[in-house]
């Protein structure tokens, strides 16, 4: 097997694995075998026509014609359930994921409430569950309605491209723009905190001062926010520089994990009472900051995100090494796909 063919198989396998992820388990292997044979036949035919192995972007064009892995798999599913109220709220392609996430969330909520009640020896009533369950249903449903709206509004992009194919899909402008707006708002909020502590501490701000630990955290988080904004700006200006996204986010998430882990590990409060009678206010605020806003969930989240982005960096690194090894000739594989078909 020569380098070109090996590379073709690598990308094809990556595409097929992505399709398989969404297929019904019982039929997945059979479907993938057949779909793989068809795509391989198309690649072979095109390669014969050109008299050389296909470049990455030429293969990608074949996969794009075949479709987003999630949508391809959906066509094999008999399950066509959706959520509609006169018009479609959650389409059949998202509905299976919606029902799974809703069930998982509701189960965790119910079990957690029951466990807390048992642990604290308080009687369990229906009212305890009612609010949490309704909030869960509303939040999950609303999230999926928005996702469905985005899918309908921007039907072309691939939503969760496999890592191996991600470098070939330019980052969509609307994705960079929405991220830019979101993180600019967060950065603005962060910048306002020293001048208007109420935006973080609410009414309690009048009785509290920030501790030295807060100042360390504040200064450490600021460059992370600037880096998050910079990544969106670069991706907006250069959508074809697909390596920017995983590389910068990997660095940001590693830094975030270290910062937030050290914050929890070192302990100590982020705020202090400005008078002894407000010590309990400081305790409550520190509890909310250390276990809520900057709680362990944050470093765990950034840690997992760092692993995911590290995984997405691997194909870029491999491409870089291949280019180093093969010289400028290898760049034929690195022509990005047309920018009209972007990744989200």
């Amino acid at each position: 097997m020569d380098g070109g063919t090996e590379r073709e198989m690598e990308l094809l396998d990556s595409y097929l694995r992505a399709v398989k992820r969404y297929l019904p388990r019982g039929q997945a292997d059979d479907i993938i075998k057949e779909l793989g044979d068809d795509l391989r036949s198309q690649i072979d035919e095109k390669a014969t026509e050109l008299g050389r192995p296909l470049s990455d972007s030429e293969q990608m064009a074949i996969f794009k014609e075949n479709g987003d892995p999630m949508l391809v798999a959906r066509r094999y599913r008999q399950d066509r359930r959706s959520l509609s109220l006169g018009w479609e709220l959650i389409g059949p392609e998202l509905f299976p994921m919606y029902s799974i996430i809703l069930c998982v969330n509701l189960t965790i909520t119910v079990v957690a409430i029951a466990a807390i009640a048992l642990f604290t020896h308080t009687p369990i009533t229906i009212r305890d569950f009612y609010f949490a369950v309704v909030v869960q249903i509303l939040c999950v449903t609303l999230t999926f309605i928005i996702l469905n709206f985005i899918r309908r509004k921007f039907p072309q992009p691939w939503y969760y491209p496999p890592a191996e194919l991600a470098p070939l899909i330019p980052i969509s402008r609307w994705y960079s723009t929405s991220g830019l707006i979101l993180w600019s708002v967060v950065a603005l909020w962060w910048l306002l905190i020293p001048h208007f502590p109420r935006v973080l501490l609410g009414g309690a701000a009048a009785h509290l001062n920030f501790s030295p630990a807060w100042h360390t955290l504040y200064v450490a988080v600021l460059p992370l926010l600037l880096a998050l904004i910079s990544q969106r700006v670069i991706s907006l200006a250069r959508p074809a520089w697909t390596w920017i996204l995983p590389v910068m986010r990997l660095a940001i998430n590693i830094a975030g994990t270290l910062i937030f882990f050290l914050l929890v590990f070192k302990g100590g409060g982020l705020v202090m009472a400005n008078a002894a009678q407000y010590d309990h206010v400081a305790d409550v605020a520190n509890g909310w900051l250390m276990w809520g806003l900057f709680g362990p969930w944050l470093w765990m989240y950034t840690g997992v995100a760092a692993l995911v982005y590290a995984w997405y960096c691997v194909p870029h690194l491999r491409r870089l090494l291949r280019r180093e090894r093969m010289g400028p000739a290898a760049t034929v594989s690195d022509v990005p796909c047309e920018s009209g078909k972007e990744r989200t």
Binding site: I31, K33, D37, D38, R40, N66, G67
Partner: protein
């Protein structure tokens, strides 16, 4: 020209809908001779019935589940391929289905001539 774009989109949707209805008949007719997916798709395309693999393979599976097609995996050109052919039940259904198609065709023809 938003109006032009909308009517182009509508025409495309209606065209696809119309073709989708006739695909089953085209696939059944083409599978009177045994073929595997890729060659079937090419054969249909050669006759002006372009169909993408994302539509064809689920359709083949559905027709097989309905008992209209039979399939088997066999090796050809050092590769395992799934060959499809019309089942006896499929053969039985193809005839009246094609007659129905011809009847629709002549009805439409008549309507168009009158107007």
């Amino acid at each position: 020209m938003a109006h032009g774009t909308n009517s182009d989109g509508l025409l495309e949707n209606l065209r696809l809908e119309l073709r989708r209805g006739s695909l089953v008949l085209a696939v059944l007719a083409a599978l009177r001779d045994e073929q595997y997916g890729y060659t079937l798709r090419k054969a249909l395309a050669d006759h002006g019935m372009e169909i993408d693999e994302g539509t064809l393979y689920p359709l083949l599976r559905r027709l097989e589940t309905q008992g209209l097609l039979l399939s088997e995996w066999r090796e050809e050109d050092k590769r395992n391929k799934r060959f499809y052919r019309l089942s006896p039940e499929g053969k039985q259904i193809l005839k009246p289905l094609f007659a129905e198609w011809q009847s629709i065709d002549s009805s439409l023809d008549g309507i168009f001539r009158e107007s």
